[in-house]
Structure formats: C-alpha cells, structure tokens
Symmetry: C2
Subunit: 217 residues, 2 copies
C-alpha cells in the first residue's frame, strides 16, 4: 500500500500554494510538512537532503519525490486524470499552460523574495523602490493575462471549472495584494479571482488556514 | 491540407531557440518569420495582432497560434509524439519538466533583457553591476542543475537522446557564454552541452545560422 502523500510547504510560498490548490481540486489527501523559509529551514537538514535545490514545494507521492510546482501539477494530471486540470483539446491545453507560464515564468520569479533581497543587498534599494519593482512586473504581466481573461467564453479561464491556470493565477493575485497592486485595470481577472474565492478547493489551500500560518490577531 | 507551420522568432531570443530545437528534434519543417526585438517589432503591427502579449516565439500550426515556449513544446509532444521529448514514465517526465522549469522559471526571466533594462533605467546600474546580476542568477541556477546532471545514468539528462530538458539547457548555456559565466564548476552540464553541440538538431537551431542573424565577420 502506498503511504499518504507528503507536501513540504510554507504557508506563504507562492509555489506551494499552487500545489495545495491542485491537490484540493483533485481531492488528494496529504500530510502537511511545514518548512519555515524565514528560518532558512530549506537550506538545512533534513529538508536539504530531500531537495538539494533547497526549494519548496516538494511532493512525496507514489514513492517519488517531486519538485517544481508546475512539474508536480503535470504529474498529478497524468496519474490522477479526474477531475482534469487541463482541457482535453491540445490547443486549449497549450493555451492554459501558456497562461500559467506567463505568470510562473514572466512575473513570479522576478518578484520572488531572493530577488528582492539582492536588490536591497547589492543595489542598495530601499523598500519603496523594491515595492515599485514588484508592482511593475505584476501589473505588466497581469495586463497580458487580462487580454486573455477578457476573451474567455467560460466561467473560469479555460473551462467552467477551475484548473491549471487558476492554480497559478490565485497565488499571484495573493502576492499582488501583499505589494498593493491596483487591480482595477483587470476586471476580467477580478471576476475569475472572485469565482475562485467562492470555491472550496481555493479556500482550504489559502495561506491563512495552513498549519504553519501565524494566529490571526 | 494544413499549411506549413510558421515560427515567429528572433535569432538571439532564448525562448525562440528552445522551440527551434524542439522542431528540429521532431523533424517538423517550418517557415521562419523574423521579428526584430532590437527594433521593437514585437510591439507593432503586424506582430502585435498575432500575439497581443508582444512576446516571441509564436508558432502558427494546425490552424492555431501558440505562444510561451514550454507550452509550445507540450503541444508538439502531444500532437507529434515521436520522437518523444519526455520520458514515458510519469515520474521521470516530471523530473525532466522540473529541470526545464528550474531554468525557464528560476534563471532566464531574471536575466532577461527587459529586466536588465529596468535595472539600468530605474536603479541607475552600470554594465558591470548588471552583468554581475546576470552571472549570479545563472551560476546559482546552474549549480542546482549540476546536482541533477551528475546523477544522470544516460548520455543526455533523462534519456540517451536529447529532449525537453536539453531544449531549455542549451539556450541558457548560450546566454551564460554571452555574460561570461565561468562554467568550470559545472562539468556534468558541460558534458551534456558538448553532446548537444555535436547533434544536428542543435546545430540547425543555433542562433548564428538563423536567417536574421548578422553576417559573420
């Protein structure tokens, strides 16, 4: 018998959040193993032995240890195809992947914590300059995403159920909130984000309700 | 009858280079449509009408217009499965995707031209600081890739033939050369890169032999 999958996660990690949504959408039960990024636990044993790349999330499942959030989503899609995260039509599947990559490759890496730390440490940037940087790349990327969201013919981006694209959009919209990005230029994205907020899979994957989230108040 | 696929490309574009390799590995003939990024042609008609995201590559194929290089690779893999770019085993396929993402998400976006321009324009960075930034992120990412390359049991990263991972590795190693990254700490990657250099698909996809490359000398 296979053991219960284990997700190495941090409550506020964007990439962990994507995988939590996918697991919830597919109804896969798992054990949550917190890795505190603020304490540098990703750089130390025992986690460093689990992923030498020192990055979360890691999903241990089917006797394998998987990393990189989108590669994990693809694994889940192949091994647990229902409910599907991607459209069956190859063109639409490619467009859903492209939307996800336009956030996971074109926005998130540039506003990730390690990059912001470099700007502060090496380029002597103060917080206002760093926040403006993050807002710039998020707003630029969301403008491109909005063009796609406007043209959708379904309740969610590529289907009447949320999937691959929403797994990536929602954590990025959470980041946008942290940096104070003005979302009024993106009403179509806003509609999709609101629909996800009402969906149970997104509620149980939310950072605030993870075991390692600080107590409210 | 389907028309010949069209690839909108720029000779030095990293993401275009990935798709050129994949098309060559799969033996797919296509027409090359140059989009001069230095002249800003991606921001103007007619290209802006083809991809409102104003990014290359775009592959027009099977009456569809596809963007985002990794999403294009996935489309080609589904619709033209032989020769395969990904291992058949889902765990190995996920690992090959993770390797590709560790470059396409964790290295390339941070050293992309538009980011370097922001550092210069908004943070007053001179060329030495910008080059150090690019070298930092490439070397950090390649160190993680080297850990994986060392453990391979095949001639290439995940198979005895090149595939998805090499489509992303080789354009990044080309960038590493442009920024003067010291590759001596990455001998296992170096072996894979050398094997690709001897492979005809990588030779015909190389920036220097594209129709829009400047004449040598």
């Amino acid at each position: 018998m296979m053991s219960t999958p284990k997700l190495y996660s941090y409550w506020r990690s964007t990439a962990s959040y994507r995988v939590r949504i996918a697991l919830a959408l597919k109804g896969i039960a798992y054990d949550y193993v917190p890795v505190n990024l603020l304490h540098g636990e990703q750089l130390e044993a025992p986690f460093k032995g689990i992923n030498p790349q020192a990055q979360i999330p890691v999903l241990q499942i089917d006797d394998a240890s998987l990393h990189q959030s989108l590669a994990i989503l693809d694994y889940l899609e192949v091994t647990r195809p229902a409910p599907a995260l991607l459209p069956a039509d190859p063109v639409q599947a490619s467009q859903a992947r492209a939307f996800a990559l336009s956030i996971a490759a074109d926005i998130h890496p540039i506003q990730n914590l390690r990059v912001l730390k470099y700007l502060k440490r090496e380029f002597d940037q103060e917080q206002p300059g760093i926040d403006a940087w993050a807002r710039h790349w998020i707003a630029l990327g969301f403008a491109a995403c909005e063009d796609i969201a406007i043209q959708r013919k379904t309740a969610f981006l590529f289907s009447d159920a949320p999937g691959y694209a929403e797994c990536v959009l929602i954590p990025q919209s959470y980041n946008a909130g942290r940096f104070g990005v003005d979302m009024t230029p993106f009403p179509a994205l806003g509609d999709v984000i609101a629909a996800c907020a009402d969906h149970s899979a997104f509620q149980i994957a939310h950072p605030d309700v993870q075991p390692d989230a600080p107590e409210a108040g």
